[in-house]
């Protein structure tokens, strides 16, 4: 294992690399592009990388199911950081190419829903073919296989291309969320603006199990930010739930909610507590009355006094 290597979903020149370089420690790490999310996470699991940055959620397409499924099954991994990146595309071409010259366009399939409307308006005749990644698409344009590629503007230089059009994005506020994943260890220290991720398997098919799951959070005043169902592999209709909750596992309310889930569900996998990207502690929604650590401690003391006859 190498503590100095960080894997990421490659190739070079994709949004993932840009996201990774926003982390201060990236400057002192060897950044290694991998061909797929499973490959990047396997590098962590087998110790050839200390951590891996992979996309996990996209404001246009939703959860990145490959990443979710990799975190949900196999040898446990943990999330230590998240990065939010605004996604806008450039149309990259070989120098000299004009819009009217473009007959074929390529990019990773995930880019398609984000540029579909723009293409219909500006390149109605162009044929779309999918590439393995946006970086790979740019390379194929360089090689002359396609006339243009949608990719991040930063990829132009690397492949000797020119950004013919920039700031292309069908949806306003298109963002992708990336997570830095490592082997399980002590969670990131709490910052006051944290998030906790878990995967929860419900028990035998009893209606209302999801409601009970949510109540374990609600009764302790823990707000949910995201809940996603993923198939368990046991056949149609069998799902587990990936949940992001506000707060840190070291917060008493979060800990008690997680213990409640652990008791009533056949399986719970803790995926990490880590700082929320782009949210300062002062921007966090105020806690519901009665759910601060101080109030938990006060209630514990009260209980102990009553149990001991010292109330």
């Amino acid at each position: 294992m190498s503590a100095t290597r960080y894997a990421y979903l490659g190739p070079e020149g994709t949004f993932t690399e840009v996201a990774l370089r926003t982390l201060p420690e990236a400057a002192t790490r060897e950044l290694v592009p991998m061909v797929s999310v499973p490959a990047a996470l396997d590098a962590v699991r087998n110790g050839t990388a200390a951590a891996a940055l992979v996309p996990i959620e996209n404001s246009v397409e939703g959860g990145i199911t490959t990443t979710l499924d990799q975190l949900t099954s196999g040898e446990p991994l943990m999330i230590y950081r998240e990065v939010l990146l605004s996604i806008t595309f450039a149309l990259l071409v070989r120098p000299g190419t004009e819009l009217s010259d473009i007959k074929t366009v390529t990019a990773h399939p995930a880019a398609q829903p984000q540029v579909r409307n723009w293409m219909a308006a500006h390149l109605p005749q162009a044929v779309w073919e999918s590439a393995a990644s946006n970086g790979d698409g740019a390379r194929l344009v360089q090689e002359g296989r396609y006339d243009a590629a949608f990719a991040g503007e930063f990829a132009a230089e690397r492949y000797g291309l020119e950004p013919l059009v920039t700031e292309i994005h069908d949806a306003e506020n298109a963002q992708t969320r990336f997570v830095l994943v490592g082997r399980p260890a002590r969670p990131s220290a709490p910052t006051g603006a944290d998030k906790t991720s878990v995967v929860i398997w419900l028990g035998d098919d009893h209606p209302g199990a999801l409601l009970e799951l949510l109540q374990e959070f609600a009764v302790r005043g823990v707000n949910l930010m995201l809940i996603q169902s993923r198939p368990t592999g046991a056949g149609i209709g069998n799902y587990c739930f990936a949940v992001d909750a506000e707060g840190h596992i070291s917060d008493r309310r979060v800990g008690e909610a997680l213990m409640g889930l652990k008791r009533i569900c056949p399986n719970v996998r803790f995926l990490g507590s880590y700082p929320r990207a782009g949210v300062a502690p002062e921007d966090v929604r105020p806690l519901r009355a009665g759910t601060s650590d101080a109030e938990f401690t006060e209630a514990s003391d009260w209980l102990a006094r009553n149990q001991d006859g010292r109330a």
Copy 2:
């Protein structure tokens, strides 16, 4: 203070005395009748009695509000035992009296709803007047002030009366529940068939506060046996709730529920955990999955491991 004196709601010859004598330790205590529930409880508060037995619930009339209000306010007291007593009345008369001789009848007002139908059928002309207690009613018959008294059959001998009719009770299964109350100390040891009593004040007038209160119990699988609203004295519509729950304060699920209440409610008063009268541990409803002490401990360990990065 005298550890050897037990006060009870007197006078001698009432159901309360009979209930008290069902407790094994009563044989070695000095049993002192008091004129009222407040007087009996004040004897405990000021140390002239070690404990007091008072009625708290009646299957015909419901909660004994005087007792509830005494436990709810003033210097804290705690319940250590409960006693269930089947209530049937005898019609006590001076020797020689026959049914047709009876023009006036007396008893404590609480007896009236339990004998009303019987009186309408068998003594339609008799006039009812209330006595301060059933024992007192019997005494007044002895003195010739009334022709008959409803009281426990056991009271006949003490007052030189005869039970003209026995087993009188309008409602089947008429029972009264009594509690043995002392100053706050370590609760009774858990037996596996226990009950926990608390009084809970809800906060400012927000709809749904009662629902939240119940959810603190429900989410931990703690079953409620009884909930009674009592006025707080702050005006019409202001109530606190006296709650009896299954389980003991030393059970993890009960402790966590109580801490939850303590955190979200402005005030919670613990009234004691004590053995359920007439219920053996094997008769207790099975716990909901995930709420045993072993499962709480297992979940705590799991949480600690995740917090420490040893999962």
Copy 3:
């Protein structure tokens, strides 16, 4: 039956009579005092009175159990109006009596908790004996049986007594709530500030039944004002619940909640929808979003369109 006669809990000169006289229509009715709440309600049931005014809730003592139990069982009755009355006592004496002359005091037992502290401070030596009603207590003072009676100041003249002290009340804001009860008919018209009373029996002993009951109200945004448990007569631990909810049975949210209760509970008794005493429509808590009649109608229309394929 006489549409012109209103029964009330007598005798004359009690707070109930004062409460009844606050109703405009009382001026044109024959007001008939009855010896007890059951007697007053039976007069309605058997048609000798069109309606009866009886106390139902007291800010010091809580629910008036006799009234609740009468409404809960027997031939159905319905509430059409409520009256709130502030309760303060006067100490009534025969002319010439001074505080230091008073050795014996009387009143209805319900008065005792409201004057107990005052008595301890000002008449520490006086002996209390209970009277059948406050009016009756005043009469007994007139007859010389007791030295003083606690009663409403208005009772002085009727019994030839003098109010030696007025405005006696241990609790601030001491109030009693009275209800005008009649045989079942169309409920009072909605005013925008209404209350609905029901009695609800839970089914077989299943934990969580009370929670489900409350959720039927909560999910439709119907706020509860009061919930009181009353024994069903089927033995210790068997209770039904008397509930006061905000809103009128003709409000869609209230109607849907009542239907929900009717479906899941073995028995529900509707006790009436009637104007809230002392609350104007503009003082009513705003409805939760999505619970107005207009929103119910809109949702019904939407459902019908979808069922018909016209969405």
Copy 4:
């Protein structure tokens, strides 16, 4: 528009075509393969097809997000039928090819997770490249572009290939669910074993909104079968929920739950009520007490009687 044409996700020879042919009416329709889910659904929207069969859920990969997003946005469509198909792959090759000859393999990307383990065990050296569909992959093998394709065994004959290995599936019980989608009209008639699909948008970011959504179903005893979050396009963390519930929109409990959602949520889109594939009415989970149509009707009658004073 043509009532006789059914579109489906092509090309010919895919599982979708097989699923479509399980519908009896397919025998009398012109079946038209389309290049994508959006193309198939657009054919319905613009009237060139009466209906389209598209995959919506896969026991290995989860919800088919393209289909969900197409149903969630754009001009409304409705589901009228569902088809469940067990998915097992055959390895198709040109006649004479043996396992040891295979250097390149192709199929639609969705096939990959279902054959990954098998490939690792039996074709560890082969290189995978994605095809636009499984049928297209088979065609490319026929043309000599790849050595083998994973596809349904039924595709072999069409492309002149041979199934070298059959019954390949990493996960037991691998199934895909397809839905037959048409323009909005009256829903399919209830059969006693039905399913209702809706998409629900939650309001402004208030914690607990998802819990409230689930309670609208739970309080009416409507069981949920599937809940999937999909991004709304308004940025990271903004999701709507696609929900499948047991029952038919014409069932009173389902209708009342839908109206409840309509009232509290800013938007609800009804996607149809239709027969559950592979479930007979006698296999449906029994209704919770109090939620049958008969009980709804009885409760409505009871409410009306109370509103009219005829209880």
